[in-house]
Structures are given as C-alpha cells and as structure tokens.
C-alpha cells in the first residue's frame, strides 16, 4: 500500500486546494499518470502518480481547501508487477529507523486581532487582502490612471507572474502594457530605463532581486545618476520591484537581502513594506514618483492577509517610518518581514515587563531618522533588526544616525540583530540559525535593557 501525499509545489507552500481528481477508486494508474490537480495561491499543478497500482481510497474530496502539505490524499495498492517482486515471506521488519528530526520554522507570525491602525483613514472600509493582491491592485490602479505605466519582466504576462503578483493584468491591459521579457535582466533593465528616459513609466519586475545583480549597473549608473549628470534634464521615473531576501530553503544565491546595497545610492528611493496596506500605498506612490524607486518585496509575506482600505485611492508617502507598536522601554527598528518578528518579540517582551516600541522603517532611502531618533529619545535603548548581513548594513546606518542625533539619550550601546555573517545555508536547522528570529530580538532587547 502506498500513501499519496499532498505535495509541496514551492519552497514556501504550506497548504493548497485539491482542485480536481482525474482518477476514481478502482482505477489502475501507472507512474507518470496525472491523478489530480492542486492549486495554491501561486499556481495550479498536476499531481502525477509515482507508483503503479490501483487506487483503493480517496481520502480528500475534490474541492477541499487548505489541505496541508504531506496530508495523505489517496491510497494506492501495489500493482501486479510490484506484487510479484515482493519476497514470498517477507520477514517482519525490525523497528523502522527513525528519521532524524528536521527543524521547522516557527509558525507564521499572524498579526491577528490587532487594533485598528490609526493611519488608516477613519471612514474607509477595510478589506482583508494578501500582500500579493495588494501589489497587483496597486499596479492595476496606476495603469488605469496613467497610460504611460507598463509592466515588464520575466513571466509577468502569460504565466501571470512567477509569484502570481501580476495575476490578471495581461487580461485587463493587453500585451502592449504587460510584457514578458526574455531572461536578460541586464538588457531589459536597461531597456526599461531607456523607456523611462523617453517619458514612459515602466515597472520592471525582477523575478527576485538576486537576479537583479546582473542589472545593477543599469539601476545605479543609468537610472540613479542620470538626472544629476544631465543637470536635471533627463528624468527616469521607473520602479524596479520584486521579492527580496530569504524565501525558504532556496540556498545562498536566491536568498540575499539587498536593502543596504540600494539604500546606499543617491538618486534612488528604496522602499521595503511589511503589510498589505503599505505594499499597496507605497507601490502606488513609487509608480507616481518621478524618480527611480527600488521596491523590495518579500516572498514570505506575499500570501499574508492584512487590512487594506478599500474603495479609496490609497497612497502612502515614501520617506515616512511608522510606529507599529508604541512602547517606552526599548526601540526596535525593522523593515519588511522583520517587522512581524519584531512585533512578536515585543509581545513576548511585554510579558517580561519590557515595553518595546516597534518602528517599521518602510522606506530605507530617504530614511526617516527623525521618527527613529524621537523614539530613542523616549526609550533610551535601541535594537535594530534586519534580515541581511550586519557589516555596513541598514542597522549600522540606523545606529550611526541615532548616535549622531541622540547620543546623550542612549542608556546602553545599541545592538544589531541581523543574519549571521555567512552565505545563507540550505539545511533547515542551519538556515534558521542564520536568520534573525524572535528569540534573537528578545535577547537583544533584554541585553540593551540590562535584563
């Protein structure tokens, strides 16, 4: 008897919908036959049999949603061929070897039942929207608003986006404005910048920012510097966007955080939102901005739902940090996915009597150091959190600004929480050890509080 399990279709998939069964009980299947279709928020995939045999049980009905990865969805008895090869009198196996434990990441930090965000407009209806759809809605709204805006990148059109962020845009806007490019980051980034110099407003999607290293010359030398080098003549209103940082178990070349790389460069604006409202409002602001904007998303947040104002033109200004949680004992700065960890750490710290204030940087360039400095003047302690490496990083900059502007207010040396100073490893346990965690943030907050 073979168990057919709910498969994981991507590194970050945890559950999916069993969209369709192609077989019924009693059917004989051969290896490679399509037996079912699985849907996630990102993709639809066919499940193939990996064994020969007869379907004896279907355990999860067609249409079932939120089926966890590795749930047994059907059973298969070994086919005739397989039976024949079995030893006539198989000895009872000795106790099966126990698989070694594999580290699992802590459950996603859900900002459930948070009080209504005071930044959200009072009258507006809120709806629960994933970060993925918030980004899509932002692009769609701006494309409706401004004919110069178009989207280009790998798999953005027919495939509907490698991470499904551009789902539905091809249907609405057509192939003139939603453009699949060849896999040529350097070339298409340059092409986008050239189109921007001619007055269009391209959104250039990188499948991940890791691949944008092939294009970084065009982003920095052409997009960021030309306004200055032309004495203000040549405009370059372009948004470069895509997922940044570590997804899950994809190894060092697909996991880097480029926040500090781009935030280093005058001429660029750099945005890294955490929740869906900011993702939408900041992307709309980025598209309208006359300057080149680097927009850093996070794959691990794409599927997370947050409140987003509905039915209004929701634009969040670039360059403003946001206090996500007020507190008086320690300031924790973070951006993108790290905000969720910082908020979870703050809850844990509250239980220990440490009242943390969480500052979501949101924009890395220009950095809103006034909000950070004001917070530290109140709390007198600082922990910075970033997903990337520490040396020359975002935390280094945050700490420097606080020292420059609020040195006398500090009651303890600031502490940086960041990725360990190694390429991100693949093994589940090592990956977890390398990345910032709630525990590391809690420990840092205790340290600056001398607790």
């Amino acid at each position: 008897m073979t168990d057919v399990l709910m498969p994981a279709l991507s590194p970050t998939m945890e559950e999916g919908t069993l969209a369709k069964w192609h077989v019924k009980v009693g059917d004989t299947v051969r290896s490679g036959d399509v037996i079912a279709e699985i849907e996630t928020d990102k993709a639809t995939m066919e499940v193939e049999a990996v064994d020969e045999g007869v379907i004896t049980e279907i355990l999860v009905p067609e249409g079932a949603e939120e089926v966890k990865v590795n749930t047994t969805i059907a059973r298969l008895n070994g086919g005739a061929a397989q039976t024949k090869t079995e030893p006539a009198a198989a000895p009872e196996p000795a106790a099966a070897p126990t698989p070694a434990p594999v580290a699992t990441p802590p459950a996603a930090v859900a900002p459930a039942a948070a009080p209504r965000d005071p930044e959200l407009p009072a009258g507006a209806t809120l709806s629960r929207v994933t970060v993925r759809d918030a980004l899509r809605d932002a692009m769609a709204e701006e494309m409706r608003r401004d004919e110069r805006v178009f989207l280009m990148g790998e798999e953005v059109a027919q495939y509907q986006g490698a991470y499904k962020v551009s789902r539905g845009l091809l249907e609405e806007f057509g192939e003139r404005r939603v453009i699949d490019t060849p896999i040529t980051e350097h070339g298409f980034a340059g092409l986008g910048v050239g189109a921007a110099m001619a007055g269009l407003k391209p959104i250039v999607e990188f499948m991940t920012w890791n691949f944008a290293m092939q294009a970084i010359d065009q982003i920095i030398n052409s997009a960021a510097k030309t306004l200055y080098m032309s004495g203000g003549q040549i405009r370059c209103s372009v948004v470069f966007r895509g997922p940044n940082g570590a997804a899950s178990r994809v190894g060092a070349q697909h996991s880097q955080d480029y926040s500090n790389w781009y935030a280093h460069v005058p001429g660029l604006k750099v945005v890294a939102p955490y929740d869906a409202a900011d993702a939408k409002g900041l992307l709309k602001a980025a598209i309208r901005d006359p300057n080149p904007v680097v927009f850093l998303e996070h794959e691990m947040l794409y599927g997370t739902e947050f409140d987003v104002p509905a039915d209004i033109d929701w634009v969040v200004p670039i360059g403003k940090a946001k206090i996500r949680r007020e507190g008086s004992g320690v300031t924790i700065t973070a951006h993108a996915r790290m905000v969720g960890l910082a908020l979870a750490a703050a809850e844990q710290l509250a239980a220990e009597g440490i009242d943390a204030e969480v500052v979501d940087l949101r924009t890395l360039r220009p950095l809103d150091h006034e909000t950070i400095v004001q917070s530290v003047m109140k709390t007198n302690r600082l922990v910075s959190v970033e997903e990337g490496w520490g040396p020359m990083g975002v935390g280094a900059e945050v700490v420097a600004r606080v020292i420059e502007h609020a040195f006398d207010y500090l009651d303890a040396p600031p502490v940086r929480v960041c990725q360990e100073d190694v390429p991100l490893p693949y093994a589940a346990n090592l990956e977890l050890l390398s990345l910032p965690s709630v525990d590391k943030i809690v420990a840092a907050a205790r340290a600056v509080s001398y607790r």
Binding site: G194, L227, Y228, S230, G231, P290
Partner: protein
C-alpha cells in the same frame, strides 16, 4: 593589420556618385564635420592647458559618421552614444558653447558642470547622452526605441556604440529584444579598429561586426564611415527599415580615430605610420573637399571662409568655457531627486 583591413573594406563600399546631393546639403556636412574637427582640436588644447579635467575622448577622424547619420534624422528621432560623444552633440545641433563649458566644468555647461565630457544630454536636440559605461547605451537606446513603439510615434532611435562595446553581453540581450519586438532602432557601430589599446583582431572572434545581428535575424551592412555620403545613404536605408516597422538594423561604420583613446594614451598599440596613412588617404573632411571641388560646389576660397567661420565659433566657445563661472556650491545638492507631485 588593422590598416590593411580598413583599406580593403573601403574599396568594397564606394560612395554612390549618382546621388543627387545638392550643393547646400554637402556644404552643410562640410561645415558640421569641420566644426567637430576644430572643436575637438581646441578641446585637446584646453585639456593640455589643464582647463578640461578627467577623461576626454576626441572624435577626430570619425566626423563623417555623426554628420551623415544626422542628415537623415527626423525631429523626434533620438540619438544616444557612449563616452566619445562630443561629435554627436555638435552634429545634433547642441550649442558649442554649452558643450565646451561642460568640458571645463562650468555652470553654463550642458549639464550645469555636473556631467563632464562623457555625460551630456539635450532633450531639445533629442540627444540622450553621453554614457560612460561601455555598452550600457545600447540597452538604453533600445529602450528609447521601445518608447517610440509604445507611443506609435513613428520615430527611430539611433544607437551608437564602438567596436569595443560590440563584445558586451547586454548588446546581444538588446538585439534579441529589439528584433523580437520589432523595435525601431538603428544600431550604428563605429568601428575605429581599436577598443582603447586592443585592436579588433585581438578582441573579437568575428571581426565583421555587421554580421553580429545575424543570429537574431537583424540585417546589417558595412559602410565606409569615412565617406559622409555613404554614411548618409546607409543611414537612410536603415532608418526607413526601422521606421516602417521592420525592426532593428545594424550599420558597421568603418572608421579610424586619429587621436588616442583618451588624452592620456601612450599609443603603443599602433604605429605612427598607420595613423599617418589613414590621415593621408582616407580623411573624411579631405574626401568631402575633393567631392565639393569635383562637383564644382565650392572653390578653395569658399572652403576657407567656412573654416574661418568655424574657427571663430570654436574660439568663442573656448572663451565662453574659460570665462563662465564654476557651478555655485549649492548646485552640489540639486538635481539628485525630482520633487514628487503628490
């Protein structure tokens, strides 16, 4: 080696003697080419005097290309090139004063003194730079063509690069997209035989650069880049192809630079005889002088008058560039960002 090859190529693309160029047209080319030549000679002088800093790449020897292509450029067609850009700017009609003042780093320069020799632009003249990273302008110029197609405005992007840039990866990424999407771009390769100090034979497995688009189905042709009429005729064919929606076209302009790669070039990679041979036998300005007199369009006195006029313009530009103030210190912080209009 480069010399022998250049000579052989020249024979293969004679100028079309039957072209009905009228007198004013040819005299206009002459004047433009001479302006570039005299301007560059003066820039070289100012560099020697310490008035121009940094890198300064002179266009002397290649004048026929920028001028011949300009002859077919329509208003709204864009021009973009690499760092050897002074000739293109003058051919596009930018004011010699503002170009020279940019070279000397003055507030009156084309980029307010913040760009320098390699980074000048003029939206009014459809000139998009002036780019210092070898090959980057090829993707950018392809993007200018993309914008033309997006706007359906019937305009063409003239995207220049050299034999050195022809080996950059993004050139081929751009070729692929340009043909795939039928973008109206004319790639003008100025093959002056040397990428800095490396001859094309030492850097390129395929030295016929006009063939470099073949695997993308982009047509290409080799042109005598020392003959302004040949350049103009080829550019006309290429622009018509691009403008009609057939996609990109490659022109390999066979040319030669008389001066070093930049001002600080020891020129150990070629002989003085090689340079002199080209100057004597293939000079684009002398070639046009012969044509003008052969057609009876201008006598020596007329040509001298043009030269005197051009010299005066250049002298004025040098004076303007020398006398203009340096940028105000406050300009250090302007033009980094545009105000967002929220």
């Amino acid at each position: 080696m480069a010399r022998a090859r250049a000579a052989e190529k020249t024979k293969s693309t004679p100028a079309k003697p039957g072209h009905n160029a009228d007198r004013d047209e040819l005299l206009g080319y002459y004047r433009s080419m001479l302006l570039i030549r005299r301007f560059e000679e003066r820039a070289g002088q100012l560099y020697g005097m310490g008035l121009i800093g940094g890198f300064c790449h002179l266009y002397i020897g290649q004048e026929a290309i920028a001028v011949g292509v300009q002859a077919v450029k329509e208003s709204g067609d864009s021009v973009i090139t690499g760092y050897r850009d002074h000739g293109h700017m003058l051919a596009c009609g930018m004011d010699p004063n503002e170009v020279m003042a940019e070279l000397t780093g003055r507030a009156t320069g084309a980029s307010k003194g913040k760009g320098g020799s390699m980074h000048m632009f003029s939206t009014a003249s459809d000139f998009y730079g002036g780019h210092g990273i070898v090959g980057a302008q090829v993707s950018l110029g392809t993007g200018l063509a993309f914008a033309n197609r997006y706007k359906s405005n019937g305009k063409v992007s003239f995207t220049y690069f050299g034999d050195g840039a022809a080996n950059q990866g993004q050139v081929y990424e751009s070729f692929n997209m340009a043909e795939l999407w039928r973008l109206p771009v004319v790639y003008v390769i100025e093959n002056n035989q040397y990428a800095m100090g490396t001859s094309i034979e030492r850097s390129s497995a395929e030295t016929d650069l006009y063939k470099r688009g073949l695997s993308f189905r982009i047509p290409g042709e080799e042109v005598d880049g020392m003959d302004v009429e040949a350049v103009r005729d080829a550019a006309s064919r290429a622009a018509a192809h691009a403008r009609s929606g057939k996609g990109p076209y490659i022109l390999e302009m066979m040319t030669y630079r008389y001066r070093g790669h930049s001002m600080s070039d020891p020129a150990k990679y070629r002989t003085r005889e090689e340079v002199d041979q080209v100057r004597k036998t293939r000079d684009p300005i002398e070639h046009l002088e012969h044509r003008l007199s052969e057609l009876g369009f201008a006598d020596e006195a007329a040509l001298k008058a043009i030269d005197a006029d051009v010299k005066r313009i250049v002298a004025d530009a040098a004076e303007f560039a020398r006398m203009s103030p340096e940028p105000d210190p406050a300009a250090l912080y302007t033009d980094v960002y545009l105000e967002a209009a929220q």
